[in-house]
Amino acid sequence: MHELMATMGKALHLLVSFDPALWEIIGVSFRVSLTAILVALPPALLVALVLARVAFPGRWLAISLVNTFMAVPTVVVGLVLFMLLSRSGPLGEWQLLFTQRAMVIGQIILASPILIAMLHSSLQSIDQRAWETARQLGAGRLQAFAMLIHEARFGVIAAVLAAFGRIIAEVGSAVMIGGNIEHFTRTITTAIALETLKGEFAQGIALGMVLLLLALLLNVLLGVMRGRGQQMVSA
């Protein structure tokens, strides 16, 4: 216990010490993951809407596929992307390997299934009449869509948080296609992996706590933003 306690202290100290090396990797982590979420969200919303609202043959299979891809190991995404982006791979000319951009792509792929699955589940539970009412009251398709998202906002926020949690915490793809290069593609999680490799467990946990503290901050901010309120659910 003692060692774990000491680790907590170390994490706090790390955070407030404003160690530039630490803030550099924090910056990379958040930049990459936030970008990935922002890019992945609009198409995910669209796909989720189609899955929730449009009855097409094979829809349930499509949903099963999305659910399946939630179980893809991050390192497998990393491996596949690596083979695609490798010099000898079909997209080698883009020279994306070991760049932050490649990491963003990897995280988009990782975030999408969980975003789609969760958005689908909350959009589906919105009353059928919501869409009809909006459309009849003069909303265009896009406006009605925006209204649906607003109605499902608690679920949407939950989906974004879950997807963000998944990708900011993932290491398999980040390390494969980012390369964990110091000052460049090293993120909090790849740094943790490195500390672990070295046997510096306490340092690894301290970094993990730094990540959690920042995530908590983000969540609390979001919580304050959405007004602590609870949804009204009486129809």
């Binding site: 009353d127 009449r129 919501a130 009809e132 009412t133 909006a134 459309r135 009849q136 009251l137 003069g138 909303a139 265009g140 406006q143 209204m147 607003h150 109605e151 949804q231 009204m232 659910v233 009486s234 129809a235």
Partner: protein
Amino acid sequence: MLEVSRLSHGFGRRPPLWEIPHLRWDGRSLVHLRGDNGSGKTTLLRLLAGLDTPRRGTIRWTLDDGAPAAPPRFGDLLYLHQQPYLFDTSVAGNLRHVARWQGWRGDDARSRIASMLARCGLADHARQHARSLSGGERMRLALARAWLLSPRVLLLDEPTASLDRQAIDDITALILSLRETGCAIVLSAHQQSVLTERCDAEWHLERGGLQVGDMQAGIAEPRPLGADS
């Protein structure tokens, strides 16, 4: 205005709820749609609004000298659900949604919303959450949303079911004034009220068919008036 031919609809493997060989409506009469529970009133109104596709038959609307067409674009035609859906925001917010979709801005939007709230007796509730309204207030809000639009066709599904007498008087006045402006209106209702008494035509869903009666002209035979006789 409206021309329906060989229309029928049903659910699952059941026989059709009703069949309407032919129906023509000039849109000038105020129509009272009657029928027992489950006779298919809601179903018919949803089909007329183009929210569902009929199993068989065609529905043609002719608006503003245009060519006859399938149910016209939303906004011109408005079907009000039997249990209206209120957006998950405040009472005024519900109206603001509509104002935004209509492209109204600033003071214009604000004043329209304020006057509509006053008219429907919801001025005191403007900032209350829509879903905490009482049963009657919900229907008033739904009606207020609809009035904002001034549609060409209005299909109201039991608008008076949970309203008190004053409210029924108020919406009767509103409906009549809308009708003056040329809006075509169909409303369903189980109970007789001042509103149904002002109707001058009756569509009656009965035994799988639609009986049409012209009340003003006295063609509709006097019916036993349910609860209030």
